[in-house]
Symmetry: C2
Subunit: 606 residues, 2 copies
Amino acid sequence: MGTGTLRQENAALLVLAAISLALITILSVWKLKRFKYRLVNETGGAMFYGILLGVAVKYLRFDGASSMENHVCTCPGLNSTPHLVMVNISSEAHCYRHVGKMNPKSSLDSTSHMETFDLDVLFNVFLPPIIFYGAYTLDQRRFIANLGSVLTFAFFGTLISCFCIGVCIYGVTRLMVLLGQAADGDYSFVDCLLFGAITSATDPVSILGLLSDLRVDLDLHTLLFGESVLNDAVAIVLTRAITTYDGARPAFDPSAFLYSIGSFLGILLGSFCMGFIFTVITALLTKLTRLRESPLLETSVVLLLSWSSFLSAKASGLSGIVAVLFCGLSQARYTVLNLSAEGRSRTKQLFEVFSFLGEIFIYSCMGYILLTFPHHVFKALFISGAFLSIFISRACHIYPLSLLLNLGRTKKISCSFQHFMAFAGLRGAVAFSLAVRDTTTEAKQTILTTTLLLAGFTIWVLGAAADPLLHSLDIRMGEDSEEDSKDFSSEVAMRGPDTARGLWHNLDHKYLKPMLTHCGPPLTELFPRWCGAFARIFSPSQIQEDEEEFCEIEPHTPPLNLDKTEHPPTPDDDHSGSEHQDDLLEGDLGLGTGPVNTTEPSVDFV
Amino acid sequence: MGTGTLRQENAALLVLAAISLALITILSVWKLKRFKYRLVNETGGAMFYGILLGVAVKYLRFDGASSMENHVCTCPGLNSTPHLVMVNISSEAHCYRHVGKMNPKSSLDSTSHMETFDLDVLFNVFLPPIIFYGAYTLDQRRFIANLGSVLTFAFFGTLISCFCIGVCIYGVTRLMVLLGQAADGDYSFVDCLLFGAITSATDPVSILGLLSDLRVDLDLHTLLFGESVLNDAVAIVLTRAITTYDGARPAFDPSAFLYSIGSFLGILLGSFCMGFIFTVITALLTKLTRLRESPLLETSVVLLLSWSSFLSAKASGLSGIVAVLFCGLSQARYTVLNLSAEGRSRTKQLFEVFSFLGEIFIYSCMGYILLTFPHHVFKALFISGAFLSIFISRACHIYPLSLLLNLGRTKKISCSFQHFMAFAGLRGAVAFSLAVRDTTTEAKQTILTTTLLLAGFTIWVLGAAADPLLHSLDIRMGEDSEEDSKDFSSEVAMRGPDTARGLWHNLDHKYLKPMLTHCGPPLTELFPRWCGAFARIFSPSQIQEDEEEFCEIEPHTPPLNLDKTEHPPTPDDDHSGSEHQDDLLEGDLGLGTGPVNTTEPSVDFV
């Protein structure tokens, strides 16, 4: 009991320290923002205070004396006196993963027991809601209007960026070998590619913080935020594929290469399906039952099922974060339409709090680890190469891809947009979570150190420079999203109903929406006759009778409202036709051809 | 990496199982409730499904083969290769506490690795929000009007109940020794008192579920719910004090007895202060800053600081649950007045979701452990004695204390109320958490088994019998709380402003409210001159100017609204004088003399 209580008290103290840090961050950043000092947001503040805590722990070295006593270790799941005990004092950790524990040559210093910021908790409890909330609050209509562009940037952009950074860094490491700063085998090309994949994940959290504080053009907002959300998925899966390839191989191994490509596609698709399956379950549950009568139950069900998508993906060896990302995207498209107005605002507010707190905890942990991780490897050349390469890689994918995309887009991505997109590649939580996962070799320790420095630099320096840059690029700011969304729908309404209906539109409008929600044409019309029974199950008559009136109200509160934090959705907006126009937009395969300049050419675009 | 991933996948599967259980519970109980079948609520349902899962695990014995492989054990905090490794295969567990692990003689059966429902997580993450939410949603005005009665029932009632059950059970164990069913030293008197303290904790969760489904008389509601919330605190601290006394002593030890009385009072007062300190911090933060502008920040700050009260109490060796209970009570009295309407509804909804899910997880865990705990000790005599004694003890404290209280109360506690209160002693989460804390001896295993059975019996049988009993006792049901609260205030308004102002009223109205909120008389008037600077700090002029208009609106939304789940507080209720009348009521030292029958005698009371 005694040691257990002592451990519990220590754990309580640790969590208290984290909470105090979070409170200080919240209050000071909020105070700064009130003075219209927009250069710092929560992520930067949290990281700063994490560093301060790190300094305190590192240099004050408090309670170093008691750090020896609490190394009591139990085996969860062991229920009896075993016949044979094998003690394996190897370098691998299983129950908990702690930064810096991997290296057996380290000395037991005073920081060791403060390092129990349990990263598993951080990444399994706090990261999923952040990613989910990011995906859930994407402006659905604009996202789908720009789907093609966003997907291009996220998929091909990340691949280009990863390869580009990999090549640059490989060049730098060769230079390091030439200059005698590293041995020949220290950094393999695969290590460099791994670094490329890790630092290709731009961070939705800090970008969202930046964009919502600055209120930029909504299309730019969608492109940037959508890209940063989706490229996390690609970067995560890419990192896993590169790890699968195994960096120890000296020569190129075609079979391992093909296998890792297969694993890349398999995990990406598998996680996507996992996320979507849980959305289907949630949507059907909320559609076919009268759960809508109790907002508390709706919220609980959405929360539990969305979290299940993460856990199921983890349990089946897929990527949990990618699954929860796609789950968030599809929940916002389908399930939301089945929820009551109160259930909708409650769900959003719940995830908002989770995401907000998770963000603060993760970023302060980043700052803390930047200072206290005992195996930092600072290689000046590697770091400067990395700083250079993230800009090069960003330029290498934004400009050429924009050029290509502009061939297909009616509303072009202007040059100033491209400049800003190339600039706004902030790195954050996902890159950190990927880099910290494995710190066994010196190359990987260099990667962690450099990633943390990159994150700090991009969040503080680029984040602070964004405001002046937007001014100098003359991108319209401070615009009202409601007003704009009305413009948007009226622009599209002019285009007539039957232009460019694509595959996605067919699937979404004709099958998914009617099946998963009460909107769209009745299922019995859509399905061939022999599917009649199937169609009837998904549109039960006794519910549908009084649902219809509900469905008619629904389009008045477009999912766009999800984006606004302070006000719950108001059903009195005048968007009577928005649902219909929404579907029209989707017909363009998302290349951004929606809000055309044919009706009124916008002066804002160069 | 491999074993780590495997462990993570197993953990994910386990959490998935818990989530599925929760979903099934939510959906089926909700479905039953929709058919007006009010006999089952979430707690009973969750326990039932927990038992089903237990049956499945116990009798299907699935994946028993793999249970051996994952017993990998790491020592968190150990950062280097130690010089000396001492492996202590004792019966005590430190990092994690698992039910059934304490007994070294058990065989490694297939259920062992499913038993990693981590009880620490359950009691440190899910229990505090339940208790907090219970205290937070107490009807403040009625609670304070009945404060004296509630405190009497909670404090003296629990002491009487503990002693009464202890004596009854001691008699039973003597009988068991006589009949040869137990050895002489198996059950000491202290063990019996411990059982008394554990089973004296009536459960706010299931009582709240019961009362809100049945909509009973509001005074009865307040008495029952208030008692069940507060007696948890007394029972928890009493259990600790009895544990401190140490049951191994054969003879009565006066110094240990005095020490445990001291520890009882010390922990109770200490935890109370800890909870109150964090309320003061929260209230001052929300009063002195303009946090009200962002409901997200308000909610986060209230959440973090309330959780801090739990953690700080734990870290300083006090009772976290008691601290969070008092924190919830005082947050609802002071901090709530400083929050914006949206912040208020958000905070409540957040805790509601936490509490709802926590409740389901804890009760299904209870059901699961009832079936799978490998060291159950079923003693028929002990169990029947326990069933008898909880009724006797309940009768022994409700009737005499009501008699005493009725001497001082203007609005008497009627006989039918007394009968229902004696009947409605449901046992649940807190009793379970106390019983499961220590299962090292056979006596304590008997206590756990019996407590689980008691909880199951009271929740299912008494819960289901409550509806018919209320009918037969003719206690008014289905009444509208708003209407009633208006009656209530108008009744009191007749009584003139200066009767029976007590100590509490003075403290609360004259000092705490003005200091912690924007309501009540200005501080500068209240404090003597030499405190002028102090008073000015707590009523900063630049804020107070436009706060005044806010404070005038506040009394229109009385904290009573907290009790209503579905609707956010509406500021258009016509309670213009309620704040004032509220304070009048508090002057009666809470003996329930408030709503006097002088104006219109109520026919409902015998």
